[in-house]
Symmetry: C2
C-alpha cells in the first residue's frame, strides 16, 4: 500500500511519523494532507536508507539537487560526492539525471548510499537500450519506468502530458525554444516519427500499476516548460498543464502520489499567476519548479536568476525547488558549482518560508540578528547558512578591533546604537 492509500485509510506510517517530526507537526495532520493530495511523501519501498521528507502546502520548502553523468563527463565518483555534498548542505532530494551508458549500476549504488529522496527521469535511458528511437515500443518506455521503480527510486519525472493535442500547439505558439526538456524532447521526437500518442499518456493505467507496486511518486513533467522568458505562459505550456491536472486526478484515485513540475524561464510578473494556475488546474498537487529563471541573459550566474524566481515562486505557493547551478546552459557542474547552486536554492527556499509564514521559520533569522546585535562573531558564524565562506572571509580580513568588521571599523553602527539603546532602556 502506498503512503497515499494508507493516509486515506487513516493509517499512520513510520515514514509519516519521521517526516512530520521534521516539520514540527503531528503525524495525523500530515496524513490528512497526504490523503487530500496537497502533500506527497516520496518513499519507494526499496529505498531502505531513506530519511523521508514530505513536500507540499503548509510545509517548509524543499530543494532538489541534480547530479548524474553525461556522455562527456562519465565520472561516477564525482557524482557520488555531489550526493554527499547535497546531504551535508541540507538539501532534501537528489535527482540522478545520468543520460549516457548503462545507468543502472550507478543508480543502485546511489540509492543504497544516500538517505535523501532520489528522483530520476527513466526516459533518459531511451538511447541506451540498443535500439534506434523509432524502434522503441510502448513496452520499452514502460520497462524503463519499471526498472527505475524496482531500483528504489522515490519519485520519477514522467512526461505524460505532452500529448498529440498539446504538441499541436507547437506551431501556432511559435516559440523561440519549442522544447527544452530533455525527456520531453525524446517523447516528442518519438511521437513525431512514429505518429503514435505519448506512450505514458496512452498507457497511464500501466504506469499507475508500476507506481503502486513500489510506491513511486509521480512527478508529472512539464515537457513544454518555457526555456526562454519570451515563451512563458503560452498555449503549449498551459494546455500541457491542463492534461497534467487530469492525470493527477486519475493517479490519486488509484492511490498513486503526484506532484507537478513547472517552469522554467519566466518573467517575475508572471510567476504568481503560474503558481495559482498550477494549484487550480492540478487540484492542489505539490508544485516542483525548475527555476524559474527570471532572465535568459546571465549564463554563469543562473543560480542567481533562479534564486530570484524560486524565491518568488515558493513565496507564491511552489513547494519544491530544483536547484540551478552557475554551470546551467554551459556545462555539467563541478563540485563548486553544485555548492553554489545548493546555497542559492536554500536561500530562496528559506526566504520563501519567511514570506509564507511557515511556523518557526523566522527563529533562525531572529537568532542571527540577536548575535549581530551582540557583535557575537562566533555565534554569527555558527548560525550562518554556510559557515565556511564568511569564516574564511573574516580570517582574511581581521579588523584591529575584533568586536567589529573591516567594513566600518570605529564607524560600526551596531556599536554606536548599542550605546544609545542602553540609555533608552
Amino acid at each position: 500500500m502506498t503512503q497515499l492509500i494508507q493516509a486515506k485509510k487513516g493509517i499512520i506510517t513510520e515514514q509519516m511519523k519521521k517526516a512530520a517530526k521534521k516539520e514540527k507537526i503531528s503525524a495525523e495532520k500530515l496524513a490528512e494532507k497526504i490523503a487530500e493530495g496537497s502533500v506527497v511523501l516520496p518513499a519507494n519501498k526499496n529505498h531502505k536508507k531513506l530519511s523521508p521528507y514530505a513536500i507540499g502546502a503548509g510545509l517548509t520548502t524543499k530543494i532538489n539537487v541534480n547530479l548524474g553523468i553525461s556522455e562527456d563527463c562519465p565520472n561516477y565518483e564525482l557524482e557520488i560526492k555531489k550526493a554527499d555534498l547535497a546531504e551535508k548542505l541540507k538539501a532534501h532530494a537528489v535527482m540522478d539525471l545520468s543520460c549516457s551508458g548503462d545507468t543502472r549500476p550507478f543508480r543502485r549504488n546511489l540509492i543504497e548510499h544516500t538517505s535523501l529522496m532520489v528522483g530520476t527521469v527513466p526516459v533518459y535511458d531511451a538511447e541506451n537500450l540498443g535500439k534506434e528511437l523509432p524502434e522503441l515500443t510502448e513496452e520499452d518506455f514502460l520497462g524503463m519506468l519499471k526498472t527505475h521503480a524496482e531500483d528504489g527510486v522515490d519519485f520519477v519525472t514522467l512526461h505524460a502530458g505532452i500529448t498529440k493535442n498539446v504538441l499541436a500547439h507547437m506551431k501556432p505558439a511559435d516559440r523561440i525554444m519549442p522544447i527544452v526538456s530533455r525527456g520531453g524532447a525524446v517523447i516528442a521526437e518519438w511521437m513525431d516519427i512514429t505518429g503514435k500518442e505519448n506512450p505514458f499518456f496512452a498507457n497511464f493505467d500501466k504506469v499507475l500499476d508500476i507506481c503502486l507496486e513500489y510506491d513511486v511518486t509521480l512527478s508529472l513533467g512539464d515537457a513544454c516548460r518555457p526555456g526562454a522568458v519570451h515563451d512563458a505562459s503560452d498555449s503549449m505550456q498551459i494546455s500541457e498543464l491542463i492534461v497534467l491536472g487530469e492525470l493527477t486526478k486519475k493517479a490519486r484515485d488509484a492511490g498513486v502520489q503526484v506532484m507537478i513540475e513547472g517552469p522554467g524561464h519566466m518573467r517575475i510578473d508572471e510567476i504568481a499567476a503560474n503558481m495559482l494556475l498550477e494549484k487550480k488546474l492540478c487540484h492542489n498537487a505539490p508544485f516542483y519548479v525548475l527555476g524559474p529563471l527570471v532572465t535568459d541573459v546571465a549564463p554563469g550566474y543562473d543560480h542567481i536568476t533562479s534564486a530570484i524566481g524560486g524565491a518568488i515562486a515558493a513565496a507564491s505557493g511552489a513547494d519544491f525547488l530544483c536547484y540551478v547551478t552557475p554551470a546551467e546552459h554551459v556545462k555539467l557542474p563541478d563540485l563548486s558549482d553544485v555548492k553554489e547552486g545548493i546555497i542559492a536554492s536554500r536561500i530562496a527556499a528559506h526566504a520563501a518560508d519567511l514570506a509564507k509564514h511557515v511556523p518557526g521559520a523566522d527563529n533562525w533569522d531572529k537568532e542571527m540578528s540577536i548575535a549581530r546585535s551582540n557583535l557575537d562573531w562566533k555565534k554569527m558564524l555558527e548560525l550562518a547558512l554556510d559557515p565556511e565562506k564568511p569564516g574564511k572571509m573574516r580570517e582574511e580580513s581581521m579588523p584591529r578591533d575584533p568586536a567589529v568588521c573591516t567594513m566600518c571599523g570605529k564607524m560600526c553602527s551596531v556599536n554606536r546604537t548599542n550605546r544609545i539603546k542602553e540609555k533608552i532602556k
Copy 2:
C-alpha cells in the same frame, strides 16, 4: 539653476538630452518627469566628466556600487579600481563611503576620474573634524555637506528624517537592531547626547541652499531602515518615511531634486507594500533601495539575498538598486566581491525591467534565446551579461561535439527539437 528648475521652466539641458538618449525616450518626455519629481537627474555642476543618467518611474532600473576606504583597509588605489570595474560592468553610479581619515583628496580624485554618478554620505566625516562628537555644531554638519557639494558630488545621502519624534519610536518598536545605518547612527547619537533636534532637519532650508548652488540631488536617507527581517515595516521605519515625504515636498518646491532611500532587511511578502508606501508618502519620488535582503541568515551570500529582494522591489516600483556584495556583514569587499555584487545587482535590475515591461528590455533576452536555439555559442557568449565566467567554464569543459555542451551531449534537447521544428514548418 538645477535640472529640476530648468525642467519646470521647460528648458531642455544637455544632460537631459544625453540621459534621454540612453533611455530611448525624448528629452521633452524626460523633462516632464523631472519637473513632476518622479525622475531625478543627478548632475553636480562640478562633476565635469559625468555621463548623466536619469533615475525614476518608467525608466530602466539603475544600480549603484559602494566603494571607499575604511579604518582597517585604507587602500585608495584599490578603491579607484572598484570604480573602474563599476564602469566596465555597466553600473550607473558609485558611492564613495570612505569613513576614515581625510576623505577629501580621494573624493576629488574619484570625481575627476569617473564618468559615473558619484554619491557620498557627508556625515561620515563627523569623526574626522578633530572634534569629539558632542562638540560638533549644526554648522559643522552643514559644512560637511557644503564640502562634498563643492567637490562635485552628484547626490548625497542625508539622514534628515530621523527627528526627535521618530527616535521616540525606538523604545516601543523594540527592535533587535535599532539603527544599522552608519550615518543615521551618528546623527542619532549626536541628538541623544546633545538633546538637540536632527541638524539637517532643523536646518533644512540651509541644506536646500547648498544643494541649489551645486545642483546636488538629495538622497534622503533611511536611518531607521530595518537591519533584521524581524524589524521591518515597523513604526520607526514608517514614521521616518512620513517625515521624508514632507521634506520631499519642501525640497521640490525649492527646486532641489530628491530621491528616497529604503530598506534594508525585509521578508519577501512585505516588499511590494513598502514600494507602494514610498511612492504614496513621498509623492512618487524615485526609490533607492539598499537590498532588500530577504533573510538575515546568509552572510557570504548577501549578493544573492539582496538580488532576490532587489528584483522584487524594482519589479514593484523601486528605481535604483544599491548593490550588495558577498562581503556584506563580514568585511570590506575586495575586487572579486565587487564584481559578484555588481553582476547580481544587474541581474536583479534587468529581471525587474522585464517585469515592469520597460520598452525594449526583452530584446536582449530574445537575442540570447535565439542564439541558444541556434546553438550559436559565439553569440551566446557575446550576449552574456558577463562573458568572462561562462567563457572560461566552456573552455574548461569542451564537449566532443562542439554544437552542444557537456551537460547533455547527444541528449541535447535543442538539437532534438530543432529536428521536429524543421518538419513542422
